[in-house]
């Protein structure tokens, strides 16, 4: 049986206390919410925090407020969101993304904040200490080389969150607190440039809230590619949002994920549909442009070249769904 390494465990009752502990402990501390990402990583010894700060008793980080806008507490479990009929009606793309995460049991445990902060994944990294020793470890943990791209200066571990691309597409903001204060950032700004510094959230900060503005008449969709109907992380994912003015696209957002260390904002693809009708030709062209931003490498399930092709197909299908 795999065992956890030694750690100190605390379970404060307020977000302020969490922030205080984090400020005192420094980067050796780690927040744990559902534990579904952290504990496996600890068992494999690629995350070895000395102190765990559990959110299990922090009630203030739970709850969903639905007015025009939607505000979600970071500690809300995925299954609570899945069971939230009003959320499903209001933000079907986000609901689809939530519902596609892993398995029912893990959604009962995992939280939305955990999915936002999900550690980047790589099949050179999500391995046991013994396994990683055989490759002399990797850049992301204990080693030097990025084995996905040995000449690379950056880590290519993959952002594998299902909800993140949808949140970016919907224009969500994240609110973070620390003893230094509170700040609210656009979702995209949360994510760093490489697989190691994948979050701009500082170690002493707690993600408290996700706010999604009123979508008005905009429609959005999430499409996920994976091998199996459960368990699996995305190996390519597309979130798309379109706001129409009559027949023409007034505003749009196309975000890819699981095809690189950071969610990909497909600006040229969006430019190709803005002010146009979503005809087959327009969609086809936009999908091709979107695919250019994807840089899948050989560190997830499925062949990387296939993932690159499928991103185009899935973007096309996402836009087709929105065109209807």
């Amino acid at each position: 049986m795999m065992r956890l390494p030694t750690f100190r465990y605390t379970a404060p009752k307020t977000a302020a206390e969490v922030a205080e502990i984090l400020a005192g402990e420094g980067p050796q501390a780690s927040i744990v919410a559902g534990g579904t990402d952290l504990y496996p990583n600890m068992k494999r010894r690629h995350q070895t925090p000395k102190t765990l700060v559990s959110l299990r008793h922090v009630e203030e980080l739970r709850g969903v407020q639905l007015n025009g806008a939607v505000s979600i507490g970071s500690n809300e479990t995925l299954s609570d969101l899945e069971d939230n009929a009003a959320l499903k009606a209001k933000l079907p793309a986000l609901w689809t993304a939530v519902q596609s995460i892993s398995t029912p049991q893990l959604r009962n445990m995992g939280t939305i904040g955990g999915n936002v902060c999900l550690d980047t994944r790589c099949n050179y990294y999500n391995q046991t200490w013994e396994w990683r020793r055989a490759i002399d470890f990797c850049m992301k943990c204990d080693g030097e080389t990025c084995w996905v791209a040995p000449s690379s200066d950056i880590c290519w571990a993959v952002n594998s969150s299902d909800t993140v691309p949808v949140m970016i597409a919907l224009g969500a903001t994240f609110t973070l607190i620390s003893t230094r204060g509170e700040r609210t950032i656009p979702a995209l700004e949360m994510f760093g440039e490489d697989g190691i510094d994948y979050l701009t959230k500082q170690p002493d900060e707690v993600l408290t809230r996700i706010d999604i503005p009123d979508q008005g008449s905009a429609k959005s969709v999430y499409r996920k590619v994976r091998r199996r109907g459960s368990f699996d992380f995305p190996v390519a994912a597309v979130a798309a949002r379109v706001e129409m003015d009559g027949d023409e696209v007034k505003a749009a957002s196309i975000i890819l994920n699981a095809v690189g260390p950071k969610p990909v904002v497909c600006e040229t693809a969006v430019d190709a549909i803005l002010g146009k009708k979503l005809t087959d030709e327009v969609i086809e062209e936009a999908a091709k442009l979107a695919g250019k931003g994807a840089k899948p490498l050989d560190n997830t399930d499925h062949i990387s070249m296939w993932r690159k092709k499928v991103v185009v197909v899935e973007t096309k299908r996402a836009l087709e769904a929105l065109a209807q």
């Binding site: 099949n123 396994w131 490759i135 199996r228 109907g229 062949i303 092709k309």
Partner: protein, 828 residues
């Protein structure tokens, strides 16, 4: 049993008691063919079944193995001092303490409990720690320093074929070639020359693994008198007993092996393993119970699963689809050790001949050692790969000749009761009925070639042995023994070395005995899989248990019944032949009101003859093939299966959605019908996983690590991927089977992989000559000029000494000509 009850069997006259039993069975079964509750079913549903890792004992220590982090190296030194100094560590051992090698096959005794000269793959164990808890053992394991001198590893069998300076082993046929075999039955060149169409295909079947839900675990302890007992999740306690006795240098009488119920095996727990030897040795050295429970990653290193196999198949067909000859070649990637590999190699060539008439047949097979976890027997052992090649090529031939794929098969079935070109004796043969069942139920004739683009159906068939005709080590003793002991209270104690791995063998054992004695299943209590208390059964492999244990159980129960019948006949003055045993009663068939309770009958018999404890046993019939290599393939009976698979292929992504499967299986006779259906569905599931997603992949350019040793990344289908299955059970009792039964544990897996590939062709017109059929391959095939994805080159296997054996039709007698002195191939 057949409708007319014979008065003699095997030329021997039946006693009146035996005749009475046959008449009883001919009048209808009480239990056989029905679906009584599985005897261990409720315990499993209540969480009461004790698997190996559920066991614990006072003072128990926990063991962890240090495994090699290099793929191929000499061990220069091992320093265990830091580990030994860690508080809580009780003992650390290395390879020298168990220098005697072991292995499942007598010809491949190439494994050590812990490596002490070389390590041969990432994951090969080099040291073992016993500590007060597992966390301490893990920490200690990390503190062991091993100094390696790295050697040049080989990961590809085509490269391993070349002689290398530092082969993995110092035995085998040459260099890294573990086994090279070539046999020709009849003149295949002539057969091909007579053909109207000759197809030659190169195909590849990627390796995959068993992935039992239970990770291997073992608990060993020293008894007060110095005996060693090990309780282990093994499918083969008898073979483990032999190996353990050898390695520990203890007489078999001082070693006791108990196989705990296996939480799934599928062939993955059929070898004796390093961890079993280590906990046994540590228990002896520390005087304390020692348990090991492997992690999922370690289970991937134990492996013994499907051999990655590159194949070349060349077949001649007449215009009507009749085969004129076949030349089949296989190159097996064996991994680091022998395991069952010699048998696996032969199995890739053995069973092509038992489904359709192949008058002339040649087989060349080579197994190479590579620096990866060893391959071995997985469900279907060595036969799914060639079956894939054969069934896909038949599909191509049907298309080329303008024949319906169902007809090309059905019109050329191997006759029941016949002898194949390679001297296998076919008994009952229900493949035609299987094909009819799935063709009709699936609406095949309205679907094949007629569905809209993207949708398609594929058909494939298969056969499997009902037990290997020969044991793993040569001996003339029975393959299975069952002791039946009758209680005065009407209970029946049954003892057998068989091992329950989830297939239902406990239930089959109880049902066979209960049927003969006319008692209920709850009257039976089983003691199984314990080398100290039960007669030998060779183990749960080769789909042998129902056939062999069932026959032994029948004989044991029949002998017990005979004793009771004799005594009761005398006491009640009813002729034995008229006695019937049913509903816990013994009665006169001519006057059913004249009865006594079964328990009373036992008391009468015990008073007259003494304690009633009798044994039955089973030895398979002699096989017609006498040539070297004829030991692999013969079986008392062959099961047959056919499947139609319907797919929906995403033409933009290549994704294959299996929508529905119709499968028919020729079981001979079900013992427990619902368990038979369960085995069919389970086999189809495992085949589906192999067909579309499961693969053991490594990174040769990254030190030879296993790419994905986890439940998450080794893709095993979930409820979402499982299509509906319509199962059809074909009943055609086989004279050799207990009550006519044949195997079901492995056969129904086999047609799924070729069935999927054939369905993909029907859906999108491309051939994926490689398993698994993943979306990237389908897409590549669709975008290619050849409309095909698969290997294009087949290496020279360097065959120099093909053994030529005359077929029966050529007047052969099953023997090979005395071989010329074997020439060692000289290679560069």
């Amino acid at each position: 049993m057949s409708d007319s009850s014979p008065t003699s069997e095997n030329g021997k006259d039946l006693t009146p008691e035996q005749q009475g039993l046959r008449d009883q069975l001919a009048e209808g079964y009480n239990l056989i063919g029905k679906s009584p509750l599985k005897v261990d079913g409720m315990a499993k549903a209540m969480g009461q079944t004790q698997f190996a890792d559920d066991l614990s004992m006072p003072r128990m220590l926990h063991c962890k193995l240090l495994r090699s982090h290099v793929a191929y190296a000499k061990i220069l030194s091992i320093d265990t001092s830091k580990a030994e100094a860690l508080p809580g560590v009780v003992k650390v051992i290395t390879g020298e303490c168990m220098p005697i090698p072991f292995g499942i096959l007598p010809v491949s005794q190439d494994e050590h409990s812990l490596c002490f000269d070389k390590v041969r793959f990432v994951g090969d164990p080099v040291a073992a720690v016993a500590a007060i808890d597992e966390a301490t053992a893990y920490e200690a394991m990390q503190l062991i320093d091993v100094e390696y001198e790295k050697l040049d590893p080989v990961f590809d069998p085509t490269k391993a074929l070349q002689n290398r300076e530092e082969p993995l082993h110092d035995y085998g046929d040459d260099g890294n070639v573990h086994k090279r075999v070539s046999m020709e039955f009849g003149d295949v060149e002539q057969g091909l020359a007579e053909a109207d169409l000759v197809l030659e295909d190169t195909m590849f079947f990627e390796g995959n693994t068993h992935l039992p839900m239970e990770q291997h675990a073992s608990l060993a302890f020293r008894e007060a008198d110095g005996r060693l007992t090990i309780m282990s999740s093994t499918q083969t306690p008898h073979y483990l007993h032999k190996a353990m006795s050898k390695v520990l240098e203890m007489p078999p009488s001082r070693v006791r092996v108990i196989a705990t119920p296996n939480g799934g095996g599928f062939g993955g727990k059929s070898d004796p393993f390093n961890h079993e030897m280590c906990v046994a040795k540590l228990a002896l050295l520390t005087g304390r119970p020692v348990k090991v429970a492997l992690t999922r990653e370690e289970v991937f290193y134990c492996h013994r699963g499907r051999h990655p196999t590159l194949m070349n198949i060349k077949t001649g067909f007449k215009k009507d689809g009749a085969m004129t000859g076949m030349h089949f070649q296989s190159l097996l990637d064996g991994g680091g050790y022998g395991s069952y590999g010699v048998a696996s190699t032969y199995y890739t060539g053995a069973l092509q001949t038992v489904t359709y008439k192949i008058p002339k047949y040649r087989f060349d097979g080579v197994r190479c050692f590579t620096n990866k976890p060893p391959c071995g027997p997985k469900r279907g052992h060595g036969t799914p790969q060639p079956r894939f090649a054969l069934e896909v090529q038949l599909d191509k031939a049907a298309v080329a000749l303008g024949i319906d794929p169902a007809d090309i098969r059905k019109n050329h079935l191997h006759p029941a009761g016949g002898i194949t070109a390679n001297w296998l004796k076919v008994g009952s043969m229900g493949l035609g009925a299987c094909i009819d069942a799935v063709v009709e139920a699936s609406g095949w004739k309205d679907k094949w070639g007629k569905l809209p683009p993207g949708k398609g159906v594929g058909l494939a068939c298969s056969s499997y042995i009902s037990g290997a005709g020969l044991p793993i080590y040569w001996n003339a003793m029975p393959h299975s023994g069952v002791t039946v002991q009758l209680d005065r209270g009407g209970g029946v104690a049954v003892f057998c070395g068989e091992t329950e791995i989830g297939q239902g063998s406990d239930t089959v054992l109880a049902m066979c005995v209960a049927e003969v004695l006319g008692v209920g299943l709850t009257d039976i209590r089983l003691t199984v899989a314990d080398t100290h208390t039960t007669p030998v059964d060779l183990g749960s492999y080769s789909s042998r248990v129902t056939m062999m244990m069932g026959n032994a159980a029948f004989q044991g129960a029949e002998r017990a019944r005979e004793i009771v019948a004799k005594a009761v006949s005398k006491k009640l003055e009813i002729p034995s032949v008229r006695l019937r045993f049913a509903d816990n009663k013994i009665f006169d068939v001519q006057d059913p009101e004249n009865w006594i309770p079964f328990a009373k009958g036992v008391q009468i018999a015990e008073a007259k003859f003494g304690t009633i404890a009798v044994a039955g046993s089973y030895t398979p019939p002699v096989t017609p093939g006498k040539y070297r290599g004829a030991g692999v393939g013969p079986s008392p009976a062959y099961s047959y299966s056919a499947a139609v698979i319907q797919v929906d292929v995403d033409q933009e992504t290549g994704d294959v959605d299996v929508e529905k499967i119709w499968v028919a299986h020729d079981i001979g006779q079900s013992i427990n019908e619902i368990l038979v259906i369960g085995q069919v569905e389970g086999g189809v599931y495992m085949g589906l996983g192999e067909a579309i997603m499961e693969e053991m992949t490594y990174r040769p350019n990254r030190f030879g690590v296993h790419k994905i040793p986890s439940m998450l990344e080794y893709k095993s289908p979930t409820t979402h991927e499982m299509p509906p299955i319509d199962t059809f059970i074909i009943r055609d009792p086989d004279p050799n089977g207990p009550f006519g039964a044949k195997e079901v544990g492995q056969g129904p897996l086999l047609p799924i992989m070729p069935g999927v590939a054939n369905a993909v062709f029907d859906a999108v017109g491309v051939r994926v000559d490689e398993i698994p059929v993943t979306p990237d391959k389908v897409l590549k095939a669709m975008n290619s000029k050849t409309k095909r994805y698969g290997p294009t080159k087949y290496p020279d296997l360097k065959i120099t000494d093909t053994v030529r054996i005359k077929t029966l039709e050529e007047g052969g007698d099953g023997t090979a000509p005395r071989p010329a002195k074997k020439q060692k191939e000289v290679t560069s």
